[in-house]
Amino acid sequence: MITKSMEGEGARAAWLSGVKQALPIVMGYLPVGAAFGVLAHKTGLSALETVLMSLLVYAGSAQLIAVAMFAAGMPPVSIVATTFVVNLRHLLMTASLTPGLKEWRQWQLGLFAYQVTDETFALHSARFARGETDRTTGFAINVTAHAAWVLASGLGYLAGAGIPDVRPLGLDYALPAMFIALLTMQVRNGLHVFVAGFTGLAAMALIQAGADRFSVIIATIAGATFGAGVESWMKRQSS
């Protein structure tokens, strides 16, 4: 009896901790999700389609691109193909999270992976690096962030064209600022600083060269290879 109620309390604390940790993501998702909702409304999607896309696809940049492509009258095949290319980067993200997902059941992995976005990934990888791999907290973060995304899309849709400009509040800086905090927490030594600089430059060069849809995935592969290569080389030098 006592153990059971303590377990319940522990689960509640773990859940609350996840909700709390997800709040910066919520702050970032509200303006971006609302922007998506407004654009979907202007493009002529129905409220149901808008909310359904946020619920099922759940990928900010791809959804914004898709709405623009709908507006341009592009065929479904090209929208789906573009979505695939733009979201392929998540493959690297969930792959890098796997060491923190040991002993999870298949269905738990399947559910968890569904809600891995750029932002939840960044938060989880910072948690896993600290050794915090609690499952309940992980799911609480994911569900809170996803709920905020869906809610913001719906509200944006309802507000339609009447939505006030979010720029004076600096809300459009919530996600870059979050990436700044998460990147800083990932950097553990000088080599990480070099990897960050190398990858950032590579991504910018790719964008300038016109490969903006592939920039994140190609730059990430190059940057991780650079980091792992230099690390192996330094180990060989010192041994």
Binding site: V57, T83, T94, A203
Partner: protein, 108 residues
Amino acid sequence: MDEAAVLLTIVGMTLVTYAPRVAPVLLLASRALPGPVVRWLSYVPTAVLSAMLFPSLLLPAGGLDLGLDNIFLWAALPAFLLAWKTRSFFGTVALGMGLVAAGRWLLG
């Protein structure tokens, strides 16, 4: 707009988004990965965050912008400093947003 085409597109987008998210965890999570793979994956978070962040700071409109009116870039410097000194997630987000809001107000 053709309702059926929109719904079909949404279903297609869902499948091609979920597949790359779920494939690695289903294939990799249950087995021990070789050392070089683990080492490579350990650099992915730093790399992928940099690949997303730096272009948004330095190429806000597609071209390199080091001008004083590029608020995203200049707000990042104190934000990095605060994140490094305090490790505070909330503090960094609040400072970044506050600086961008203030910068826009000052620049009119």
